[in-house]
Subunit: 269 residues, 2 copies
Amino acid sequence: MNDEHQFLESYSLSDYERPSVTTDIVVFRLRTEESDNYRQDSKSKLSLLLIRRGGHPFKDCWALPGGFLNPGETIEDCALREVEEETSLKPASLLSIGLFSEPDRDPRGWIISNAFVSVLGAEKVSFKAGDDAKEAKWFDVSFETENSDSVLTLCSGEIKLSAVLNEEKSSFGMTSYKIADSGGIAFDHAKIIAKALTALRTAARDFEMIFDFLPEKFTLTELQNVQETVMNISVLPANFRRKIAGYVEETDEYTQGAGHRPAKLYRRK
Amino acid sequence: MNDEHQFLESYSLSDYERPSVTTDIVVFRLRTEESDNYRQDSKSKLSLLLIRRGGHPFKDCWALPGGFLNPGETIEDCALREVEEETSLKPASLLSIGLFSEPDRDPRGWIISNAFVSVLGAEKVSFKAGDDAKEAKWFDVSFETENSDSVLTLCSGEIKLSAVLNEEKSSFGMTSYKIADSGGIAFDHAKIIAKALTALRTAARDFEMIFDFLPEKFTLTELQNVQETVMNISVLPANFRRKIAGYVEETDEYTQGAGHRPAKLYRRK
DNA sequence: CAAATAGTGTCTCTAAGACAATATCAC
DNA sequence: GTGATATTGTCTTAGAGACACTATTTG
């Protein structure tokens, strides 16, 4: 038995107190709003998934999907597993937005959480019928910042959650948020959602994940709508097409039956 | 005793297996190389701090500074504390670059680590005389990527560590690295250093942290040298000055005795 | 004065934004 | 034909990069 082997045998990590580690995932998706005009294309809204908590703490409040990190898996595995458990869909992309580790962030004890942004494509979304009778809903997102005060509003039918956050600039040009009013959103999840939206919008600026919201083949107008919806901006079609040109390639298919001129379908390059 | 209170009393996290959580910090600093020409300004090199491991595992290998997360502190607190313990200096900035959670990344067991980039200013750097007799050194950094193969070389005097990594594009435009040859660097630290360099260079592109390498007052040429050194590029002074103009403000002080025309000192705006 | 850095002016080229004009389909 | 989107062209403007030139100090 060599020196290192001997050491590892006798080594014990149990002397140190350890936190529980979880993931929280901000799952984004575009919700299509049907148009009443047969000519007009349908508009879409950015929405995210929240789950109504069945037990304490924050009983009956809305919270992000997530769960405990299991031995043998990476934190990314854990995040993917949790999204699949909730939606029975594999997210197209996953981005870590940091470890939330305030000691008092969870009343149950020392629980730190790595938060992720993930994007679900335009396919049919179904909720798994879990035995835990969890209620899950998609909430339309609105997030407006004015003079470093931000208001996050999440709407799903009659339910409306409205949180207020203070923006804080930190080094390396990162912005973090402090909760002024959680708006009834569980734990520090309002803060996580705010950071997720910032990350999502930054990524959307250089087309990093806008493809993930769409099927494999799409029109340039659909792609433009994704960017506009996610970033809450408006751009001119001619300019969008010039900028996106290098990121896509043509197919030889066209849309049809849309009530107006057909559009060529493109694919991500 | 209300419902929620009752629940919290009886709640136990001990049923779940928990990982140990640590931080690893890539501490960067500019090392000034004195010029032999009295006229010429001194050049600088990007360097980072490594510590020689005194015990198993990876005994006598070089590793990043870091340590265990303590109860009651955030992961950022922990990172700052560890940097101060090693260098007795407060870093100017701190940026999280992700949680490294491969189950087999540490032979001692289930230990996950949140990595950080931090920058130390140009002040005198001293190593604390610890009773643990740890050996710490600044290593000059070279990091070249060619066709998604990267070579990381760290030099400190006679010591030369050379690691090979494979670049992997993931969603959201993030790049991660897989270690092909650790070059004798402990644990997965070569991977962490590669990611840190990527983050540092990205930040340097829009001047996010280049000020942190310098004292409060500096010349524009010094600032330009920081960006060039960190990003391993070369830019024309006239163009740099135009781009940086909005980020700095003049003082009424000048350099003197430099062997050539004095330069106005600026301050971050 | 020679060598080095400090600092300014300007030309070109590219990319972004604004806007105008034309094309094509469903009804 | 009408009303919607699809698609292309071009003008203007802002910014990056390249380069030339002048200024100022120390030894």
